[in-house]
Structures are given as C-alpha cells and as structure tokens.
C-alpha cells in the first residue's frame, strides 16, 4: 500500500523527485508534531507515571523495612519472654524446693513433738501407775498391819489369857513385834518387796 501511496505521490507531482537529503531536513509539521508528542509523553512521565511509581516503590521499601523492624522486635520480645519464663521457672523450682524443705522440717518437728509428747504421756502414765500401786501397797500394808495386829492380838490373848488386855501395852507390843517383823522382811531383800508390788 505504501508503495502505491508513494507512487501516487510521485505521480501527482511529476518531475519533483524526492531528494535523499530531505530525509535529514525536518518539515515544519514534523517538528511541530514531534514537540507535541514529546510534551505529551513527557507530561505523562513527569507528572503521572514516575511520581506514582516512585511513591509506590518508596512505600514498599518502607513497608519492608518496617516489617523487618517489626520481626526483629517480635524476636526480641520472644527472647525476653523466654528469658522471663526461664527465670520464673527457676524461681518456681526454688520455691517448690523450699516448700518441700519446709514441709520436711515441719514434719520432722511434728514427729519429734508427737514423740516427746507420747513419751511424756507414757512417763506420766507410768508414774501414775506407780503412784497408784504405791498407794495401794501402803493401803494394803496398813490394812494388813491392822488385821495382822488384831489377829495376832487375838491369837496372843487367847494364848496368854487376859494379861494383855491393857490396850496401850498391847499396842506397844504389837508395834514392836511388827517392827521386828518388818526389819526381818527388809533384810530378807528385794525379792519379797518385788513380790509385794
């Protein structure tokens, strides 16, 4: 088509051959339209395209840097939390150990206290028992003494008649008799005493 156009142009202006040098000499309309499109393209890039893309690129850079900073913060926070957790864990362990130790000590104290209390009780019970036994022994001894005295007196009075009716003398005789008897008993040793208790 272009060939035909050119041929038509040439045909329309016979004799006017297009010279090669014309390729290098701009026509006025060529210059004008060149300036027009240059201004249009320039305006688009200067005012619309580049500012927008620059803004987007800057924003992206900012976002990425912000993201990196954020990640670093998060990491630092995580590390701090971990350290805190570890310290709390150690603290808790120490606390637990302390409580256990306390409990053990307290338990020991309680056991010791109970033991001493029990041994006190035992001692008291023993003492009471001994005291009671002693009292009973004395009671028995007194009762026995009276009874033995009466029996002996009666026996003796039956044997020796009325001679010993005087009670004072009677009593003295009996006491002397018993003292002698007791002395012989004490002498005879611990065997008889233990048999009494």
């Amino acid at each position: 088509m272009r060939i035909l156009d050119a041929a038509a142009l040439l045909a329309a202006e016979p004799g006017e051959e297009v010279k090669g040098v014309n390729l290098l000499i701009p026509a006025d309309y060529d210059i004008l339209w060149s300036i027009v499109v240059a201004v249009i393209i320039g305006f688009a890039f200067y005012r619309l395209v580049l500012p927008k893309f620059t803004a987007v690129l800057d924003e992206r850079t900012e976002k990425i840097e912000g993201g990196i900073a954020k990640a670093e913060n998060a990491q630092a926070e995580a590390a701090a939390a971990l350290a805190e957790y570890h310290s709390q864990l150690a603290e808790a362990r120490a606390e637990a150990a302390r409580i256990r130790e306390d409990a053990r000590a307290e338990g020991g104290a309680i056991v010791a206290e109970l033991r001493s209390k029990a041994s006190d009780d035992a001692a008291r019970i023993l003492e009471n028992a001994q005291r009671q036994i002693e009292a009973e022994r004395q009671q028995a001894s007194v009762a026995l003494r009276a009874e033995v005295g009466a029996l002996a007196t009666e026996l003796a009075s039956r044997i020796v008649g009325e001679a010993l009716a005087d009670s004072a003398r009677q009593s003295r005789v009996i006491d002397r008799f018993l003292d002698e008897l007791e002395a012989t008993t004490v002498e005879s040793g611990a065997a008889s005493a233990s048999r009494e208790s």
Partner: protein, 262 residues
Amino acid sequence: MIAASGEGGGFHPPSIAEFFPAAFAFEGTPFEMNRIILVRLVATAVLVALFVVAARRAQLVPGRGQNVAEMALDFVRVNIAQETMGHNAKRFLPMLTTIFFAVLAMNLTGVVPLLNIASTSLIGMPLVLAAWVYVMYLAVGIKKFGLGGYLKNNLLPPGLPPVLYVLVTPIEALQVFVFRPATLALRLTANMIAGHLILVLCFGATHFFLFEAGGALKAAAALSLTAGVAFTLFEVLVAGLQAYIFTLLAAVYLNMAVEEEH
C-alpha cells in the same frame, strides 16, 4: 532488481518516497498530518495510556502488569541512569525515562502490523529529542560551572601541552556543539530508515515473486519471506537497542556536563 514498466504491475523497489506520504489533513500548514504523523500519535497514545493505567492501578503489592511496568521503568532507572550517572541519576530520571519510552514506542511501530513504519524514521522526532538533550546538557553545565567554567571544562581539557589546544579545542567544540546532538538524531533516524527499507524490500519482493513473477521465481518468495520475518525480529531488537543507545548517550552527555572531572 528490474522494475517492470506499466501501471500497477512489476516490482517497486523501496524508495525514500516511503517517508513522504501524502498529507491527509491540514495540508500546507504546520499542522499537516500524514500517515507517519498519525502513527506517531497512535504510538504516543498507546504508550501514555499503558503507563498511566499502570500508574493508576499501581499498588504496594504489584500484579502482573505492574511488575512489567516496574521492570521497564527499573531498566531505565538502574541500568541506564544509575549506572551511567550515579548520584546524578535521580535528577535526570524523568527526562531519561521519557526519552527512552518515547523512542522505544515510536521505533516499535515499525514492526507493528498496519502501522508498519517507525515514526522516528522522520528526522523531526529524533531531532526534537536530541535538541532537548542538547539544551539540557548545555544548561545544566553552564548553570553549574558558569559559562566560562563550562567552556573551559569542555574545550580545554586539562593535562595537555598548550600547543595541542590548537588541535583539540576545535575538535572538542565540534563535539560538544554539533556532533553530539547531530549523531544522536542521525543515528536513530538512519537506523529506522534503513530498517524500514529492508522490511519493505523483503515483503515487496515476496509479493512480487508470489503474484507477478513466473515459474521458478515463485520459489524465491519463500526465501524473501523468511528474510522478511527474520528482519522483522531483528528490527524489534534494533528498536530496543536504539532506544537504549539514545538514552544511554543522553545520560552520558548530561553526566559529563555536571561532573567535576571528565
């Protein structure tokens, strides 16, 4: 190549008339529009629409489209601006981005079906962009070093025996004031013109072989068509490469103007 005579028939070799299509609007005024100008406007509209939509939808977490747009913008920002200019990159980034995508979009129209011509193959567009670079590097250089300082920096490179300035200074002056902008514009335009002519040649020849040549010559259509496909792919490469070179050199020139030491 033998051009057969006769109307509508035969093989038309591509000519530079390709680049002077008939005007269809405002003919004779500075607002004259022809097919190539229209292609240029279409490329501009598509480019601006793509990037403005991408920018509107730009989010913190990019989707597919945004990723592609960001990769493209990053290519200019990192691979061209930062690698060439270092700390000066940010200041000139909008300019370099505009130049890169403008040139790329208008180069690529050369391989887009129905558009089929690089709108940078008209010298106007490369010239306007080169002039922008030219004015800019002169302006930032003079603003930074003053007119005298800038001229001294560029025309009297330090460390040379004074007698050599007779030789070096004119060369440097031509470099700074003529060759840099001129080569920027010419390199791009010439590449695009050549690419277009090659594509037209390949596909025109295919058409001719297939429909008008007889017998065994029809088989040659396969060859020329293959070449056309290959050159189309090559033109995609060239489109990207020329956009890259144009922008890279712009960055280098701007950086040379503001750097302390050359």
